[in-house]
Amino acid sequence: AALDDFKSEEKQVLRISGGTAHIPVMKEAAKRIMTINPDLQITIAGGGSGAGIKQVGEGLVDIGNSGRRASDAEIEKYGLGMVKWAVDGVATVVNPKNPVKALSGKQLQDIFSGKIATWKALGGDDRPINIYTRDKSSGTRSVFWKKALNKGDISDKANFVTSNGAMKSAVTNDPYAIGYVSVGYIDKTVAPVTLDGVKPTLDTVKSGEYKVARGLYSNTKGEPSGLAEKFMEYLLSSEGRKIVVEKGFIPVN
């Protein structure tokens, strides 16, 4: 559907919450829709993929985003309708000042489990490694944990942040940080880490070379309807796909 479809809508509210990787795209789409029809109000909250699935399932929001596929149990329990509208990777990131820009999978697991505790051991400064992680609700975390860490431990000394955005700014601010964000979030304020020789970029994710990849989903309770349906259609429309590209993700065909 094109933007014009929204013009005819009555005054109403569309609630969106969940995955934080989705937020830039959601914000942009909302902005365009609300400009076309100021009567519409679209509210966007974070919380993480887990929260998105739960909240939409409970009927607290109209659209719940997730950075992972909802589990079969979840789909069954809530009768979710899913739309996958982008492909994304999860990249390990460090501060740009950090000389360590490549790691092996083993090294990465050892860092996150706390076995390797200083950058010196990896050829960097003689400073402890500050690990940043997300809480259990995060889809980014569950993908990273499964595909990059092979379900290895994450040290309990890790600092917690609440969103992809927060992860990025935490790593930007801390020269000795290591963390993980959605590939779409990478810009020059954080440096992606080459994992087992593959650099996480849009291209390597697209080509399937970079393994830590996932889809970005928007879920509704039951099949989408009303404004939520129009919103989803808009995301999949050519204009929506342009936004997806603009914000650094790979639109699905």
Binding site: P38, I44, A45, E58
Partner: protein, 294 residues
């Protein structure tokens, strides 16, 4: 002399403490002012929308503070709308009606309420919402209404206690004036006692407003979100200034968003200090202008 030496040390200690505290405070304020003053402009608030259009709600503001400020204002208005009548009535009850034991017990409860961490009040509000959503109506979500109700619980004890204390501190003579002329208890309260203690009550209310405008913990659990635009109904989520600052501090995307964070923090600081000044002014004005002969 040993004596003098101790004295000097105490003086030096107190000067050092003062110096440290004042420096720290000025560092906090100065840091915001130095970093944030450039960001403060109409554009910070209205972004590229024309202020006039925004104020008339003709157009949505994106990337500006306007929705957050509008959210905070609605939040303050609503929560004071709940807390004020309730608080004044309870304060009047405690001061004028309650027998000693009841007064003792209730003021203990209100002191406890004043001490409850705001996040716990937020948790309370949130779980009430979920409860209602499950068992009452699918249409109840965390929203402006819920947030302002929870906030009103947070500031309720302040209003109750200031009302009670201002009423109680009135001298017996003032209390007896109207009864002497044949007034009933109610007439006495509304025509004499409340007007006489107005300055104390108002400055308490202004401080409560400041608390509403400032609190983050309650609203982040009860409906404040990252993007919502100007709230259109009391049943929708909303943006708020303090939550915006928190959000920007943890996940600004680029330099311009960071600057908005600084600007927002500075504006909130100015609003809070302004409210404080107003409350202070009210207290002083009433205290000095009208000679208090009682």
């Amino acid at each position: 002399m040993a004596n003098n030496c101790w004295d000097k040390m105490l003086k030096i200690f107190s000067w050092i403490c003062t110096f440290l505290l004042v420096t720290a405070v000025f560092m906090v304020i100065g840091f915001l002012v130095v970093k944030g003053y450039k960001a403060v402009s109409l554009e910070l608030i209205f972004a590229d929308t024309r202020p006039f259009d925004a104020l008339l709600l003709k157009r949505q503001v994106f990337g500006g503070l306007f929705p957050a400020m509008a959210g905070t204002v609605s939040l303050v208005v609503l929560s004071m709308g709940f807390a004020l009548p309730l608080g004044l009535a309870s304060g009047i009850f405690l001061a004028e009606y309650a027998p000693f034991r009841v007064k003792w017990f209730f003021s203990l409860l209100f002191d406890i309420l004043a001490g409850i961490p705001s996040i716990v009040v937020g948790l309370f509000g949130f779980s009430i919402t979920i409860f209602l959503h499950h068992f009452f109506s699918e249409q109840i979500f965390p929203c402006l209404l819920i947030a302002s109700l929870s906030l009103s619980f947070l500031v309720l004890p302040y209003i109750i206690r200031t009302t009670q204390m201002s009423l109680e501190s009135l001298p017996l003579q003032v209390r007896l004036t109207a009864p002497c002329l044949g007034a009933t208890k109610l007439e006495n309260i509304f025509l004499v006692l409340l007007p006489s203690s107005m300055s104390g009550i108002i400055s308490g209310i202004v401080l409560a407003i400041g608390r509403c405008a400032e609190d983050t913990a309650v609203i982040m659990l009860t409906g404040a979100v990252a993007t919502a635009g100007v709230p259109k109904s009391i049943f929708s989520s909303f943006e708020a200034l303090p939550f915006y600052i928190y959000y920007m501090a943890s996940e600004y995307a680029d330099h311009s968003e960071l600057m908005q964070g600084y600007g927002a923090a500075l504006i909130l600081l100015i609003i809070s200090a302004g409210l404080f000044g107003v409350s202070y002014g009210i207290k002083n004005r009433f205290a000095t202008k009208i000679p208090n002969r009682f």
